[in-house]
């Protein structure tokens, strides 16, 4: 385990070190005090434990690395993640995992607004609640919410799947509740296990696209 203390190392030095590490290397990062862009652009299977709250864009563009944040994360956590796993023990601010293509993001606390906006294959599991406009234009992947969801969930959604255990304040345009079939139960069970959330799949409802916005429809012009 290599310790990196941000009291005496710059963010650039940290990222250079993590980006050039070999598969299997382990790091702990301390004294984060809300700094931006920590542990971004990693491309190998390294383990990074970040102790403390982080600012904007932590774990952005992650590939293969396993990053754990023991604290809260600011806006843009794991933005455009490609693969690997990012876990935050506290809450995450706006647009977590925006545009992310793959991997797993686990937020043990709450996620703020626009979680999973334009997600393109990532799986997101939120232990608490999520804010408004989450999964806006979500294209593929799964968003699992163990608490409640805010306004306009899944607005203009494509083929991403949303599972919510609690209440949904409101659904966005073209997002509807859908039947929970066997394959969905199986998928959800796997995600809950992987993210270490101890809820039963029966407690969740599934939401997805009504597919009414895929083609222009003059009768629905107000919805575009």
């Amino acid at each position: 385990m290599t310790e990196i203390n941000l009291d005496n190392k710059s963010v650039r030095e940290l990222n250079e070190k993590l980006q050039s590490a070999s598969s299997g290397d382990k790091f702990s990062v301390n004294n984060t005090v809300g700094k931006h862009a920590l542990s971004v652009g990693l491309t190998t299977e390294v383990n990074v434990d970040i102790n403390g709250h982080v600012g904007y864009y932590c774990a952005g563009m992650n590939q293969q690395a396993k990053i754990k944040i023991n604290g809260n994360a600011g806006p843009g956590l794991a933005e455009n993640m490609m693969s690997g796993e990012v876990r935050v023990t506290g809450n995450a601010s706006q647009y977590a995992a925006a545009t992310a293509h793959g991997g797993l993001l686990v937020i043990e606390g709450d996620a703020s607004s626009r979680c999973g906006i334009s997600m393109k294959g990532v799986n997101i599991v939120v232990g608490g609640n999520i804010g408004h406009m989450s999964a806006f234009m979500a294209q593929s992947g799964c968003l699992v919410v163990c608490g409640d969801a805010g306004d306009a969930l899944g607005d203009s959604i494509y083929e991403a799947k949303i599972y919510v255990r609690g209440k949904v304040k409101s659904l966005g345009t073209d997002c509807i509740e859908k039947e929970m079939r066997d394959e969905h139960q199986k998928e959800l069970k796997q995600l809950l296990k992987q993210s270490r959330m101890s809820y039963g799949v029966d407690e969740f409802r599934r939401y997805g696209s009504a597919r009414k916005l895929y083609n222009f429809d003059i009768d629905q012009v107000d919805d575009y």
Partner: protein
């Protein structure tokens, strides 16, 4: 982009350290707003009279002339000059002094008026501002600060935040308003005066106008949600505390934290991280359109 910080002291022992605590918070927000900085500090109440902060255009302003002339017309207790600002403490009616200043000292502008509030602001790097105005030595009950990155109007001291919105009230804003030109004209017709073409000054003017129409602060902020179009995180300083509100979309960041000793808000956690005990504080993100406020209980 701009940076906002607010600090409310809960443990009176820390009141003497208010400036020392808020200066690093403001400094930490430099990257969000390197153009200018400002602070509203609540301290040394003059309950029976008033305190007015005035701003001169230049550093070589002849304050002794103002002092003489004030003494001749009012019960002036004290005049404290810092850079191109002066805090006037008088045992006189606030409106009389303000009218008199407007009439006789057109080269001065009033940045704050009330019994507790003092507002200082200036162009340039926040670190220089903190130094020049000796922010670290300030004591007080609570303070709001702002670092500005100008996006819609010029960089001048008068365009800098905080903006006064009435007696002992002020506003700092992170965001941009899209209907400020039309709203400014509407408010002007209702008698509200503006000094700049700044959008945040319109928000401040709007709140002043709602308050003068009889709204309390919560009502005024709720009306603002209907009438202001754009993005905003507002922090509003009051005599007893401060309030925070984000726009319905919640685009602009804000984070709040509280311990037994203090309550704080900022655009980013890293500003709050400078406070003692921040690592164990209760931390949360304010919900859109919800008003959060801290208030000192009146003794």
């Amino acid at each position: 982009m701009c940076g906002i910080v607010g600090l409310f002291i809960k443990n009176p022992v820390l009141e003497s350290q208010l400036g020392e605590l808020i200066a690093p918070m403001l400094s930490e927000m430099t990257e969000r707003g390197p153009d200018s900085a400002g602070i509203a500090v609540y301290r040394d109440p003059n309950d029976k009279g008033c305190k007015i902060t005035v701003l001169a255009e230049n550093l070589d302003f002849d304050w002794s002339a103002l002092e003489e002339s004030l003494k001749a017309s009012f019960a002036l207790k004290k005049i404290r000059v810092t850079q191109n600002h002066a805090v006037l403490t008088l045992d006189s009616a606030i409106s009389e002094v303000q009218d008199w200043l407007n009439e006789n000292w057109k080269e001065l502008s009033v940045t704050s008026a009330g019994t507790n509030i003092e507002i200082f602001k200036g162009k340039g790097n926040p670190a220089d501002f903190i130094e020049q105005f000796d922010i670290k030595s300030m004591s007080g009950t609570h303070a709001l600060g702002h670092t500005r990155m100008a996006t819609e109007s010029a960089i001048t001291t008068e365009h800098s935040h905080p903006f006064s919105t009435g007696q002992d009230l002020c506003l700092v804003h992170n965001g941009s308003l899209s209907n400020h030109n039309r709203l400014r004209e509407t408010l002007r017709r209702s008698g509200v005066q503006f000094k700049t073409d700044n959008d945040s000054e319109v928000a401040a003017g709007y709140l002043s106008w709602r308050l003068s129409e009889g709204d309390d602060l919560d009502q005024a902020l709720n009306h603002a949600i209907d009438d202001l179009d754009g993005f905003y995180t507002f922090a509003i300083g009051t005599r007893d505390g401060f309030a925070v509100m984000r726009d319905p979309i919640g685009c602009k960041p804000a984070i709040m934290a509280e311990t037994d000793d203090w309550a704080a808000m900022s655009s980013e956690y890293r500003a709050i991280a400078t406070l003692p005990g921040a690592e164990n504080a209760r931390i949360w993100e304010p919900e859109p359109t919800q008003i959060y406020s801290w208030k000192r209980s009146l003794e």
